[in-house]
Symmetry: D2
Subunit: 326 residues, 4 copies
């Protein structure tokens, strides 16, 4: 389904090389001041430009088509549309038989009976995350002012020293290759009590949205996989006061699926983009054989660079939904 | 929300020390033979008994209250109920002011205005997973016969050698402590095409259900967090034939959120149970001070032992839902 | 789907002659005092006894299985179960080939591939409305105290004089026949603002639930079908004051799908129960011919008598859901 | 909520005088040929022009923004957008204090804290039905070819002779007034088995969508309210053959909430449009008094004329959703 959420409901649509991509947010309260400028910062974080990101430049100007009147949200559904401007016309026929490894080309063709839009990955393209980022901007405005996000890359291609990230990316790029990364999002200022038992735990909703983002293959909260190696006495977070402040925060701010008032910490593992300049050997249905594939076009050497704001948007959207249910 | 799913919809309810726990599955097709015996194997996997699990024994007899006629599902909602038999009456008042660390005691009290059932964690108890396991049995029967699950512990308290797991658990238990673990579920025989763009990727649905299980703090697919340290050329899974067989399976059987026909591999990190025999210092609202807490009762030294079948059930339920939408 | 609602979610299950029927309400706020006695009044309104209703007597004792602690709702899902006690064992095989006219026997068999429970209509039985009535009791407790329901039969078998209803029913019963009726539910004390554009108008939600009740074939609000015969100048409800009080109430308390603070008025048309003692000619798959059918058992001569409280419950449930979203 | 449906999910947005209105359909199968021309016929049925409808003319050109590739649906969400072209700028401030009777002006202001878009009714405007009609075109293409719709006005202002409708409307118009009407939609060629117990009966889904359409105040199936005046022996529809053909069709093609293979018949009562040229006395918050109101602009004397295709679209959409679940 291309809809998500309960009290804040998202509906997303579009293709990489179609006319536009867009998102509708239903459940945004009336009275939030909102202008196109509000989106600039986060869209810039997602936009190409930095080393290791594709040179494709799109104006990425959000059009607010509904749910706004005199610069303020009305309570009616808010629709944000992005025209697809830089869609070079190329022949994408090759992707309908010579499937790129670790892309959705083949599964989309099987699932949709060969009717899927193959251009640039179609509906499976990371292009749709521009809409998610825009929605995230609205979500952050829905949250109390004290809720603050800080999101950063904590690892790139295995390197954990941030000062060496550019070097690691440049090395991969020079070899026509790409690298993965880990993104950490930290949210401070959350109240106790967001999250719904049983199925809609804070972790469940956040992970659901994160795993909708292309390239994410792992999600963990607090100390995550590391807790599996611990003893209870090491991993428990003793409560210190009536506000629920804990001495440690191994849980990443969530107990029993409910926010506990301590900083929420979530990490997402993003795979290296499968679109690489280097030649790859993979199945071609035309010859019914394995054949060399050269992926054309411009590619990100490290999508995680642009992914940080997408991860932040997903976390904000899940929290905004939960905040409206609490 | 205590409902989940689209084409297969779950509704779960109950408390640790209430009259019963139960689950209703809506969307089970008519014509599946089902008897109480079908549940025995998986319920036994979850049941206490092995070293490191609580000695609490419950008959765990599933009562099939609806949706069945003459031993076959009717297409109407299927309700499975478990009486709570071994609910020793104790005084749980202490939990309403002296909150157990890393439990839901405090968040539940804040969220539900002090009206939550505090006995044994109430609705937040892992007792509810008995219903999830039973639902998983039905889910597995909904899937094609060639779909096969194998689920195992791959690490306990940091130890990866399965032969040493008992020893690690016994050592923790001897010290009144607990250990975490990692559970891996592998599903073979899946067709290409399950999973729904954008939001209901196979990963999103599976992770959503997994993070609803108490104690799970991390979820990863295929090589998971390890892929973030790789290059694209290493991580890509070249396609070998018209069935979509890949040379490697770093993606864990999912591309673009859709199953690709290769084995689905998912791992979940389970924290050490926070209920430990050792004394802990934590906030007590009665004295408005940090005070020593001694948690009474019987506890699992390693909940991951019993968690494997719960993880498997969650994966099966997500897949059953997706299979009905494909 | 056997689930309904957004902020208050219902999950219903059971069959006429199965072990039990039940309903789970998810979204009931914590802190509502609730006892089995609270259900007595409405269950008595639904129960058989009055002239024209079936003599089948069931204790209809609601078992509150979850979501309650020390007599107060906890905020966790509330499950209400009714055992099926008076389920005489008979041979229902005839209903699997000689379908009762205007019953669900045939459609259920086609839809569920012959696996449906045929006993007493199975999942399609009006028996399930006992669960709906119980849920309605909870829903009414969720609404503000000033919200008051009054529900009554306004017509029986075409007769509009309430004093002659018994006579009309008795006459039908004497001839082995049944009669339909119209039920009107009036709700006072509603605030302005309940209902959600576009799809979840107050009328949409109420009608959705009403049309789930077996035997209802028409629903209208305010003056309903009569408004189609009017001019705008006659039908408009002029507003008189700042509270939104209107001079007339042709709209039945709903403008643009949103409650306007005036009494909500809704009417439902209930067909005569199709189970009649008189012989009927209808298709029998066994002989592949039209054959006389004699429906055995005890039947209501006027289900609308018992239907009033079911209609009230449906209206209350829709309003409770909307109240939690406003 | 502005989303509706389960297997076919709709998301609608827009305002009367905003930039555009649109709808996204999620769940449209891949492989349906679709062009802008396909929408012309139904959009023309809804468009102004005939006597009794507003002279506002809009090109109403549907833009297919996503979910289409080379003229064929892809299986990805299908978004249809209509620019709002003929939005004369006027001062709508008066509507924020001098509320039109039987319009949503006042309830919208209360519900959305005065932040609603007041221009032409904003999100509550019948303008949104252009998107519903477009979605209905897609829905009809999703249904089997043998499913055929015929929809007509059966009454206007109380008049049942179709030849006199124009006269009745002209008379009202001449007096600055409007008239209501009854629309009947008949669907032939439906299979047995569409509709989902318990809550998603065919009647429930259809009525839910119909009551989302502005101005509809009553919905009935088959003989509807008339059945309440009947005896069971008169109202039952005897089955004649193995296909389920019934001798009569009082049920309007639905038994137990499930289509029975006979023609589905549904009627909707549409109120006279509350926007009339005649002066009305109604509350004005500015003077806190009842004051004469003169509604400016162009108005439909009989919205039911344009409403027929909207009703048909709603019925088609509900059926398309159910068809995908059967």
């Amino acid at each position: 389904m291309n809809t998500f959420g309960n009290a804040l409901r998202l509906s997303i649509w579009g293709e990489s090389h179609g006319a536009a991509v867009g998102i509708t947010l239903d459940g945004v309260p009336a009275g939030i001041a909102l202008s196109e400028e509000d989106f600039e910062h986060d869209l810039a974080r997602r936009r190409s430009g930095a080393q290791g990101t594709t040179p494709r430049r799109e104006s990425d100007r959000p059009q607010l088509l509904s749910g706004i009147y005199e610069g303020v949200t009305t309570g009616a559904p808010l629709t944000i549309l992005f025209q697809n401007e830089d869609t070079r016309s190329r022949d994408y026929t090759v992707l309908t038989h010579h499937f790129r490894p670790s892309h959705a080309d083949r599964v989309a063709q099987v699932k949709f009976d060969g009717k899927n839009d193959p251009r640039g990955g179609g509906h499976f393209s990371a292009r749709l995350t521009v809409a998610l980022v825009a929605a995230g901007v609205v979500a952050k405005k829905m949250l109390p002012a004290e809720v603050q996000f800080s999101t950063r890359l904590t690892a790139v291609g295995g390197e954990r020293d941030a000062e060496r990230f550019e070097q690691v990316i440049a090395a991969a790029q020079a070899e026509g290759d790409s690298v993965g990364g880990v993104i950490e999002c930290r949210v401070e200022g959350l109240p106790t009590g967001w999250g719904e038992p049983f199925f809609d735990s804070a972790e469940s909703l956040i992970a659901h949205l994160l795993f909708a983002i292309p390239a994410i293959k792992g999600v963990e909260f607090g100390d995550g996989f590391a807790v599996a190696a611990r003893r209870g006495s090491e991993n428990n977070d003793p409560i210190l006061d009536s506000h629920g402040t804990t001495a440690s925060n191994h849980a990443g701010g969530i107990d029993g699926g409910i926010t506990n008032g301590n900083p929420l910490i979530v990490r997402a593992a993003m795979k290296p983009t499968p679109s690489i300049a280097r030649e790859q050997l993979t199945y071609d249905a035309e010859c019914d054989c394995v054949a060399p594939l050269q992926i054309k076009g411009r590619h990100d050497a490290c999508v995680a660079l642009r992914g940080a704001v997408v991860v932040e948007a997903a976390v904000a959207l899940a929290l905004a939904d939960l905040s409206r249910r609490a």
